[in-house]
Symmetry: C2
Subunit: 246 residues, 2 copies
């Protein structure tokens, strides 16, 4: 419980391996996560090889964690293995569609997060790479992912070489709704974001980016509408290419 409460993402790692025994124990533990119909519609690709990390790196916009972490895990939606089993057993699979893209994503992400909680309990540090769904085509290529397999998230793992501050979170009242969704008034928005907007690091962030508000740093610099639309189109194309959309 404490390691979950006190966690922070770790982006700098000691030059020290993770033993195969420990990694396997964590992956075994992760497989105990809930999975739809006990179908385990996921696979994990483990990258330890330096050359393979170099090939993965551009997909993650060259973020240094990819080459520096001893282990990079790419968690994939995988309805391929299940479909192959069906075909070997006189059963006609029907999992090449949007519903099973989403169901496989749920399966893969519950497994990924269980891995991360277990890893942190063992003293490892992790960082999720949101870039996975920006460049799924490059990742599929680097890891030779076939049809009906799709990379949904990536986690870098290693022994921490930094102890960053814990980042802020919105108050629970911003996240939790009793019985039905309660929409936010402009006053709610002000109140719920007041602490975040008051943080010196965020004020600095606005200044550095030459913006008036923190929100503008997100919409004009970090995640622009234009980039989001381009990524959505690419995502759709790769979902098609990997066989989830006809």
């Amino acid at each position: 419980m404490n390691s979950m409460k006190n966690r922070r993402s770790i982006r700098q790692y000691q030059p020290k391996e993770i033993s195969p025994e420990l990694l396997n124990e964590l992956l075994e533990t992760a497989c105990r996560a809930s999975t739809v119909g006990n179908m385990q519609t996921y696979s994990v690709v483990v990258t330890r090889d330096a050359e393979r990390k170099r090939r993965l790196s551009p997909a993650h916009f060259g973020q240094p964690m990819v080459e520096e972490a001893p282990v990079v895990l790419t968690f994939c939606i995988d309805v391929r293995r299940f479909s192959q089993w069906c075909e070997c057993r006189q059963a006609e699979p029907g999992y090449d569609n949007l519903e099973w893209f989403v169901t496989g994503a749920v399966d893969a992400l519950l497994m990924a997060q269980t891995f991360c909680v277990a890893a942190e309990e063992k003293g490892l540090g992790i960082c999720y790479l949101g870039t996975t769904t920006y460049n799924p085509d490059l990742i599929a290529e680097a890891l030779e992912l076939p049809r009906l397999v799709f990379p949904i998230t990536t986690v870098t793992v290693g022994w921490p070489a930094e102890e960053p501050e814990q980042t802020d979170r919105l108050p629970l009242a911003a996240i939790v709704h009793a019985e039905v969704y309660h929409d936010y008034s402009p006053m709610d928005i002000d109140r719920l974001n007041a602490y975040k907007e008051s943080l010196p690091a965020n004020l600095q962030f606005i200044k550095e980016n030459g913006k008036q508000t923190l929100a503008q740093v997100f919409t004009d610099v970090r995640y622009t509408k234009e980039a989001n639309e381009t990524m959505s189109k690419k995502l759709w194309e790769v979902m098609k290419r990997q066989g989830f959309i006809r």
Copy 2:
């Protein structure tokens, strides 16, 4: 670690409440999960009211856990709150698209699974309801989810009133790929599924359903191609209706 390794889904609960203090502690802990750009693109709707559970129940095909659990949590993708913040701060949001449907799903699911691991550590039992993405329209209606909010998974939570057997999992070799994806030969498929296919409960399951193979129970009874296609179409329609697709 032990509670993660020894876990099983719990579908029967004692008639005993979960205190608001404990629930809030677990939700606070869950919010420490990684989140893209620290944007927390999720919301959780907490259902405790018996009448509201009755309204939710059909969306989950009447599974008794929904009405019997003291707490039902619906985890939602939510880019609405973030977009409203942008609009209040002279910033133009661009999160009404497929990329942010997927990114929000990742955020919401990491948070959901952290909640579940923490809850189980406290002795609570949980069960995920995969039905959430089958009937997102009914859930959106029952919980009054507005545009840019989408229910991605549901968890029933309570104090366990059963101690079921732990279910089987595939051997780790079926899930983990070293460096690149290694495709499965029919012999691999046989070997990796041998244990699962030998289990008396699964042999019984084939017999009860009048099938020849376990795979056929999945393709012909539990998750048929036809139902999967219908659900995919509905999912797409609701993604559109909630504003994630134009």
